[in-house]
């Protein structure tokens, strides 16, 4: 069984469109994250949720809106997509907030904005 899953795996869309990426974890973890990995492989955290509560919100344009309907799901909605949004987006989860817990990553969603 896949521990952290994301859909879709690939997303190609036009500038200005709105799109969503879904993430689900079946590990029973309390904390979930969204990361953006750019073309140079640099990985940066965007958001973190703990038990459906937003706890980290990095300097991300407000076109990006995370939503956590329950602690097993953390979706990412992006409005008015721009060329610079093209990247690989990773969802991750960890057991508890604030400890040295391992983060478990999903396979990534490669977003291409044309």
């Amino acid at each position: 069984d896949t521990a952290v899953s994301q859909t879709p795996k690939y997303l190609v869309t036009q500038m200005g469109n709105d799109k969503s990426i879904k993430c689900e974890q079946n590990l029973g973890h309390d904390t979930m994250y969204w990361y953006k990995q750019d073309s140079k492989k640099f990985l940066k955290i965007m958001f973190s949720y703990n038990n459906k509560e937003l706890i980290i919100n990095e300097t991300v344009p407000n076109r990006f809106s995370p939503k956590s309907p329950d602690k097993a799901h953390l979706n990412l909605h992006i409005n008015s997509l721009e060329l610079g949004d093209s990247a690989v987006y990773f969802c991750a989860s960890s057991h508890k907030r604030g400890w040295g817990d391992t983060q478990y990553f999903g396979p990534g969603t490669r977003l291409t904005v044309l």
């Binding site: 492989k41 640099f42 955290i45 973190s48 040295g100 391992t102 983060q103």
Partner: protein, 115 residues
């Protein structure tokens, strides 16, 4: 603020040779330290981590790392690499504080194992 430096962006090495991937961090408080590996077209997975205790940490796939507090380093080593070790390796730090949850990743080191 915390930061992570991986001085080598690319490391080519011949199969069965030893390898060391360097990681240095900057922090005024205690941190947890991690090494993650990303195989092509996949997500990251944990290789090993240092939380406390012995400064030599052993991980999966024959990798190990040593925490050196005075040099603020956490270098990753493997005595003999395989083709399958070709991947991107990320060093990461996290502050030791229960209310703090942010993990900061280094820029990554691309390891290429040459047959």
């Amino acid at each position: 603020a915390q930061s992570v430096t991986q001085l080598d962006s690319q490391v080519p090495v011949f199969e069965e040779a030893p390898v060391e991937l360097r990681c240095n961090y900057s922090s005024s408080v205690s941190v947890y330290l991690f090494w993650y590996v990303q195989y092509p077209n996949q997500g990251l997975q944990l290789l090993l981590k240092y939380l406390s205790g012995s400064t030599l940490v052993k991980g999966i796939n024959g990798f190990e790392a040593e925490f050196n507090k005075s040099q603020t380093s956490f270098h990753l080593r493997k005595p003999s690499v395989h083709i399958s070790d070709t991947a991107e390796y990320f060093c990461a730090v996290k502050i030791v504080q229960t209310s703090y949850d942010k993990v900061i990743f280094g820029p990554g080191t691309s390891l290429s194992v040459i047959p």
